[in-house]
């Protein structure tokens, strides 16, 4: 036990003496949360919109003019056919498309009802909600004016569709994403680098030739990064609650359980990488390319999984961070408890069990060659 | 003596209060093999950096290959070769790619590089290894190759910084034959080493202690002067006088 304690102490020396790396590890989550927080736009100005107007009558013209007159919107295209809507979104030409029903004025006058559809690109969920909100209120005030002027209760039926992110996940769903990323970075990447460094300095050879059980080496490497990860999780949650005002809606206990499971997965991945490579640079590249990129691209952190092609959706199921992020979103943002994340919990448990077993098997009590 | 290719007079380098190189004066002639010895921290590396045009002395005079060490360091670099045990060749380049690279760095034409590559590969008996990654060569071969590359552009002087650490006697001999051959062609060889048996290959030797040159002569004359059986004894006698602690 004394051996183990001495080993952990040594690991902390390594970390504290590399001041630059330590600062990066501790400050990075703060910077990420703050950057993401500011990147969320709540102000809307001159947003590009497109109009599809099959009626082309006085009412739709008046509505179009009011949209154009507001400082929120700029009409960039008048569409000839609804087929081009998808393309417009994909090219990013417009963020909102207003689709009027056919024979708008005629229907309005004869039946008292006409329809307008608002199509929004919801990949930025926060902004799309704001946009449709503004557009509805412009249309709503037009409806009210009309009613007051004519004394007849007109109704403009408004249908809003959020494209590409139908459930309009909360804008703050990046907080779980950052948590997933930080854990991967610190537990997997830093652990693998720390173990490989022993190979590079030649100390691994001396340690293996000593009576110290190799499992101590692995555990002692993991402990400091576990501590740093927990510290970082704390920072992220505090920032999220007090700076971004995103409260932890669900159970804190549930959040802790799922996080520890995920940390185990990350540590096992780090250990596997360290068994496979011989240099710190290789460890960094493998964990960077092999772990970070999928976490950012395929875990739902940035791009919603539902809007990915089926093949990528299937692939994303293999990425532990996807399950972790999904579970944290449910607990933290939607306010659910552990029972609601049983699927994520079991997938992560299975992954943790498998990876820890494999990585311990891979770790050698002798040298590779 | 033959024409001096290295000439220094009271060359001094200070870092703050610390005098790394303390008024050293010596000359090295063309085609001479000159051993530059000293314990760790005696000031060898600093002196060598000045001579290679990498560092400006604090005071004193000096020329290398006829160029002034204060004003013409770029010219000096063109006319010297350098090899150290730590860095010499790119391990992940092939043998001929290393040659082309270093030839190119010293501004040789493709034709010159091509001809020279052929000559060297033939001389070393490496013709079959042209396309081998340097990483895959045995250490002794690497060192021979590294030396050949360091004199690829026919410099006036080649600086060898502890070139043969860790090689066995057979390879060491092959290496020294290459050095003799280069010196015979008129290339001056300036070599630092920790191995005294190696020092005996040199025509003349200087031994630095605490930044000063404490002895300078041929191995035989030094042995006589210090009444020593071998260079190891000479060195031990001098190095023990060091006041300056290595660390």
């Amino acid at each position: 036990m004394k051996q183990f304690a001495a080993f952990i102490q040594k690991e902390f020396f390594h970390i504290f003496r590399d001041v630059r790396t330590m600062m990066i590890l501790l400050v990075m989550p703060v910077v990420q949360i703050i950057l993401f927080g500011f990147a969320i736009t709540t102000e809307v100005n001159n947003v590009r919109i497109a109009i599809f107007d099959p009626s082309k009558d006085a009412a739709t013209r008046q509505l179009t003019e009011r949209l154009e007159a507001s400082r929120y919107f700029t009409i960039v295209r008048i569409l000839d056919s609804p087929d081009t809507i998808d393309e417009i979104f994909r090219r990013g030409e417009a963020q909102l498309v207003v689709v009027f029903g056919d024979r708008f004025q005629e229907k309005l006058q004869h039946t008292g009802e006409a329809s307008v559809q608002l199509l929004a690109d919801a990949t930025d969920p926060n902004q799309s909600t704001t946009l449709t909100g503004y557009a509805s209120s412009i249309i709503g005030s037009y409806q009210q004016e009309l009613t007051e002027r004519q004394g007849i209760p007109y109704r403009i039926l408004l249908e809003t569709r959020m494209l590409y992110n139908p459930q309009i996940k909360s804008a703050y769903s990046f907080v779980p994403g950052v948590m997933g990323l930080i854990v991967m970075l610190i537990c997997a990447m830093m652990t693998s680098i720390a173990i490989v460094r022993e190979k590079e300095t030649g100390t691994m050879e001396v340690l293996l030739a000593s009576p110290m059980p190799p499992i101590y080496l692995i555990l002692a490497k993991a402990v400091p990064y576990l501590v740093i990860s927990i510290f970082n999780m704390g920072t992220i949650l505090l920032l999220s609650v007090f700076v971004l005002h995103v409260p932890i809606a669900g159970s804190f206990f549930g959040l802790a359980v799922i996080s520890i499971l995920f940390i185990l997965v990350a540590l096992a991945l780090g250990l596997m990488i360290s068994s496979a490579v011989e240099t710190q640079v290789a460890a960094m590249l493998v964990s960077g390319a092999g772990l970070m990129t999928p976490v950012m691209m395929l875990s739902g952190m940035i791009f919603p999984i539902e809007s990915m092609p089926p093949l990528l959706q299937w692939f994303s199921a293999l990425i532990p961070a996807r399950w972790y992020i999904a579970a944290v979103r449910k607990i933290m943002i939607q306010g659910l408890d552990l029972r609601a994340v049983w699927l994520e919990l079991s997938v992560l448990t299975a992954m943790a069990a498998a990876l820890v077993t494999i990585s311990l098997k891979m770790f050698k009590i002798r040298l590779n060659n | 003596m033959r024409e001096a290719v290295i000439y220094t007079e009271k060359l001094t380098k200070r870092f703050g209060d610390f005098t790394a190189v303390d008024h050293i004066s010596f000359e090295v002639g063309a085609g001479e093999i000159f051993g530059f010895l000293g314990a760790n921290g005696a000031g060898k590396t600093t002196a060598m950096r000045i001579l290679c045009g990498l560092s400006r002395p604090t005071s004193g005079k000096g020329t290398v290959a006829g160029f002034d060490i204060y004003r013409q360091s770029e010219e000096i670099k063109k006319h010297i070769g350098y090899m150290s045990q730590k860095f010499s060749l790119y391990e992940d380049l092939k043998v001929w790619e290393n040659m082309r690279l270093f030839g190119g760095i010293y501004g040789m034409s493709s034709r010159q590089i091509g001809e020279k590559t052929e000559t060297i590969l033939k001389e070393l008996g490496f013709a079959d290894e042209r396309n081998t990654m340097v990483r895959k060569l045995p250490l002794g071969w690497k060192q021979k190759l590294a030396f050949s590359v360091s004199i690829f552009h026919e410099p006036k002087i080649v600086f060898l910084d502890e070139p043969t650490g860790g090689v066995d006697p057979v390879t060491r001999r092959q290496f020294w034959e290459l050095i003799y051959q280069a010196a015979n062609r008129g290339i001056t060889v300036f070599v630092t080493t920790h191995y005294m048996d190696e020092a005996e290959y040199c025509g003349r030797i200087s031994i630095m202690v605490d930044g000063r040159i404490e002895a300078l002569d041929s191995p035989a004359a030094l042995r006589q002067q210090f009444r020593a059986a071998n260079m190891e004894d000479v060195f031990q006698q001098l190095a023990r006088k060091a006041v300056r602690k290595v660390d």
């Binding site: 001495a6 020396f13 300095t201 050879e205 001396v206 009576p211 | 860790g166 015979n184 005996e200």
Partner: protein, 304 residues
């Protein structure tokens, strides 16, 4: 029971045969030198004996314990200094020593007697980080770390490579003292002058054991007539000597070229021959062979 026993140990990496059926014993309490060039298999042999590698064939025992079955027990009893600098550069001298003591279930105080002589030399720098020490100091610290648990056998893989002559001499003095305290030392080196400081040496080359004996008896086996030659032009001298019919072998050896000669060799004849070829300041003298001459000889006859 010998301290180390090897029986037909072989090890290959793919097609490369790193060790080819090596057998020898290291006696208790001796300094045993493993001499050979880079790539001879010295490091592989060390790693097999320190239980870090498994041999393909053969058996080996350290302190009477099998290197495969009893690897845990062996790891308690040996001290190992790998060829590469193997300390933590970001830990101080003191911290390194303390750490390795704990790893070996002991404390610096408990075994201070054994390392005192060495450690006292680096003690003034005990608060310095190991990465900032000079080569000689690093080597002494590494030796202290390898000794701190009072091993019965010490394995030192090229401990003096890149270290200055003063430190090297001190280092061999330290090894002598350790031997006096009953520690068996297995040390490898590419330097022949260090070979003579060992009690017995084994010459290895390309994975094969060439010879094993005391340094003195090895030089006695050198039966050729050995001469040293020098002149004002050493490089042409080399080619001229090799072209001379009565010269069998000719190698550079520092100030002199060493030649072995045939029975009908005559000193005056060679001198005349060299003078005709334009050599001046010719010196010619008979020599007592050194271990290095012997090594050159068997390395030649054994060209693989």
């Amino acid at each position: 029971m010998p301290a180390v026993q090897l029986r037909n140990i072989s090890k290959s990496y793919g097609n490369l045969r790193a060790l080819d059926s090596i057998s020898f014993d290291v006696r208790r309490g001796e300094i045993f030198g493993l001499i050979g060039p880079d790539g001879a298999g010295k490091t592989t042999l060390f790693r097999i004996l320190t239980t870090l590698l498994l041999a393909d064939n053969g058996e080996a025992a350290v302190d009477g314990l099998d290197v495969v079955k009893d690897y845990r027990a062996i790891r308690n009893r040996i001290g190992y200094m790998p060829g590469k600098f193997s300390l933590y550069p970001d830990l101080t001298v003191e911290e390194n020593l303390k750490f390795f003591a704990t790893v070996f279930h002991t404390t610096v105080e408990a075994n201070y007697d054994l390392v005192r002589e060495i450690y006292q030399q680096i003690e003034p720098f005990r608060k310095r980080r190991a990465g900032k020490l000079s080569g000689g100091m690093k080597q002494k610290l590494a030796l202290s770390c390898a000794l701190i648990h009072k091993p019965s056998i010490l394995f030192l893989d090229e401990p003096t490579t890149g270290v200055d002559p003063v430190s090297r001499k001190e280092f061999w003095g330290i090894l002598r003292h350790l031997k006096e305290q009953g520690i068996t030392i297995l040390v490898s080196t590419p330097y022949m002058d260090e070979a003579t400081r060992c009690d017995r040496i084994a010459l290895i080359r390309e994975g094969k054991l060439l010879q094993i004996d005391t340094p003195r008896r090895m030089t006695e086996q050198f039966t050729e007539s050995l001469w040293g030659v020098r002149s004002n032009r050493m490089y042409p001298l080399l080619t001229d000597l090799r072209a001379y019919p009565e010269v069998k072998t000719c190698f550079t050896f520092g100030e002199f070229h060493h030649i072995t000669v045939k029975a009908d060799f005559a000193e005056e004849k060679l001198e005349r021959y060299l003078q005709e070829r334009g050599h001046r300041e010719i010196m010619l003298r008979t020599l007592v062979p050194t271990i290095e001459d012997y090594y050159m000889q068997i390395a030649q006859t054994d060209t693989l």
